[in-house]
């Protein structure tokens, strides 16, 4: 699942899909944290999952806001067309 997310970020060109892939990576982390946590019989991992979820939600809000701000200026969400800043 983590690898799927990484692959998604690298391959896809739509900013929103890239963003979804990043969320996929975070959820992969959550899943493995919960798995480790139940394997070790220790609750720290589950606590960390809550933090990750909160941060992911905050990040989603900020990220979508940034994408909307950019869309208002440029009318595109394709990262290949977002290229004023180069060299």
């Amino acid at each position: 699942m983590f690898c799927c997310g990484v692959l998604g970020v690298v391959v896809r060109r739509n900013a929103i899909v890239i963003f979804m892939s990043i969320e996929l990576m975070l959820n992969a982390v959550n899943l493995s944290l919960v798995a480790f946590s139940s394997f070790l019989g220790d609750s720290t991992g589950q606590m960390l999952v809550f933090f990750v979820m909160v941060v992911a939600a905050a990040e989603a809000a900020i990220g979508l806001a940034i994408i909307i701000a950019l869309f208002r200026n440029k009318q595109t969400v394709y990262v290949d067309e977002i290229n004023i800043l180069k060299w």
């Binding site: 997310g5 900013a15 982390v29 394997f39 070790l40 941060v55």
Partner: protein, 478 residues
């Protein structure tokens, strides 16, 4: 689990104080008309209050060593970096106020975001647990994403915000997966307890992969090659005052945590890890300085220089010696003062829509504004590492730590790449003093920003001539 005590609250007072003032600033922003000036005032008061708290916690024997079940370190190291971050925040908002007024983008939200980012830095600088490191990084970065896109109607600003956000969130994913793997192999996220598990778990491949992923996360935040792609674009596109804050505060916070975190795996003196760090350092120095040579935009040049400086500082971590760590801390102080000054000058001279940031505009500045030109020249000399400025002492200690830990090749590479960097730093000076000015319109300097820049200049000379002012402090904390 024991519940927290009053002494813990007192010990974390710098963070709590700043959080309180950022809430006050947010309320003031919502309730008052014409609020930007009021919020600026509240922020300055909040930062100064937090500085006082940090100085109080620096060497107070009644306080515990750690707070909240070993989540945060208290005193010494944490307080030293807290004061550094808070001073960076203070200087950067003093530079930002006249700049944003000039650009007609002067809103209270800016200061609130700066305060929140600074809270993230304080958490990061005192974090002793992978959870608090993660939270600190995120509090800081999320505010930076917004700040980078602060000019919301400008293409370049929102583009840089998007790039920063996507790559930053991507790097966070790696950092988190690394944390998950380390938790899985050791059963704890606390750095102090992970060390006690060594050497049994260290050679577990999953554990090593975990450290590798965390390294990727940190390398991204400190802008080291090959995770540096975002730096030039973001530094150029973001508002100059934000770049000033991001390039100094963000880097300093990431390094403060980088030092603590990697002192854990470095305690095993593993050859491979040293080698990986050395290659990161070497790559950053070479690529940063090489691409710096061909830049025509001053902000972009400083972005590449920031990559190169990340390389110099990673030398200190690769050496694994207290000398290297002290070197990094000193270098961060010097770098922060220098870059705040340089970006402060750029922000004062910047025209409409990000114009006037090319080398050509600086032609003849030596005649038009001799004081400003002399200061900029000082900052460039300090970045190059020419005595008597602070940048030289920092570089000296870092290279010395490399030689002591038998990484002599790295020190030699550092010296050679610094020689390359001389070209593009001194080119600014050549433009200022040896080229004729193209336009002679009067430059009006805002007083607040000018005074701040002068303070930065005094700082680098002071710490360059008397480095013991900082080193005596650091002997007690490392």
């Amino acid at each position: 689990m024991d519940s927290f005590s009053t002494s813990e609250l007192l010990a974390t007072s710098p963070i709590l104080m700043l959080s309180l003032f950022s809430l006050i600033a947010m309320l003031a922003n919502a309730l008052l008309k014409n609020s930007a000036k009021a919020v600026f005032g509240v922020s300055v008061v909040g930062i100064i209050a937090s500085v006082i708290c940090s100085i109080y916690t620096f060497d107070e024997p009644s306080l515990p060593q750690t707070a909240f079940s070993d989540m945060l370190l208290i005193g010494g190291y944490a307080s030293f970096f807290s004061v550094l971050f808070l001073m960076i925040a203070l200087f950067s908002i003093c530079i930002a106020k006249p700049y944003l007024e000039k650009e007609q983008y002067h809103f209270g939200e800016y200061y609130v975001l700066i305060l929140i980012a600074t809270i993230g830095m304080l958490v990061l600088g005192s974090a002793a647990d992978l959870i608090s490191i993660f939270l600190g990084i995120e509090i800081m970065s999320v505010s930076f994403y917004v700040l980078a896109g602060y000019y919301r109607s400008k293409n370049s600003s929102s583009e840089s915000a998007l790039k920063y956000f996507l790559l930053g969130a991507f790097a966070t994913g790696f950092l988190l997966y690394g944390i998950a793997l380390i938790y899985g192999t050791t059963g704890t996220t606390n750095l102090l307890r992970i060390v006690t598990m060594y050497p049994q778990v260290f050679f577990d491949p999953l554990h090593l992969i975990g450290w590798g992923l965390i390294l990727i996360g940190f390398a991204f935040k400190v802008a080291a090659v090959p995770f540096h792609m975002w730096v030039p674009d973001v530094y150029e596109g973001a508002p100059t005052s934000v770049t000033a804050f991001m390039s100094t505060g963000g880097k300093a916070a990431a390094f403060a945590s980088f030092i603590i975190t990697f002192s854990v795996p470095m305690s095993m003196h593993d050859e491979r890890l040293t080698m990986v760090l050395a290659v990161l350092a070497a790559g950053s120095m070479i690529i940063g300085n090489w691409f710096g040579l061909s830049q025509t935009n001053l902000k972009r040049m400083l972005a590449y220089s920031s990559i190169a400086h990340a390389g110099y500082m990673i030398i200190g971590i690769a050496s694994g010696l207290p000398l290297g760590q002290q070197g990094i801390a000193f270098y961060l102080v010097a770098y922060a003062l220098t870059n705040l000054g340089a970006f402060g000058i750029i922000s004062m001279l910047e025209g409409e829509n990000g114009s006037n940031v090319n080398y050509e505009y600086y032609a003849g500045l030596g005649k038009r504004k001799p004081g400003l030109a002399a200061l900029l020249a000082m900052f460039m000399f300090s970045l190059t590492g020419i005595p008597p400025f602070a940048g030289f002492i920092g570089k000296y200690y870092l290279f010395a730590s490399a030689v002591q830990s038998k990484l002599t090749w790295l020190a030699i590479l550092g010296v050679i790449t610094s020689l390359f960097s001389t070209y593009y730093y001194l080119r600014v000076i050549v433009f200022m003093y040896f080229r004729e000015a193209m336009d002679n319109t009067e430059i009006v300097l805002p007083r607040l920003a000018f005074v701040t820049v002068i303070l930065c200049g005094i700082g680098i000379v002071l710490f360059g001539v008397f480095p013991s002012l900082i080193f005596d402090l650091m002997k007690s904390i490392f």
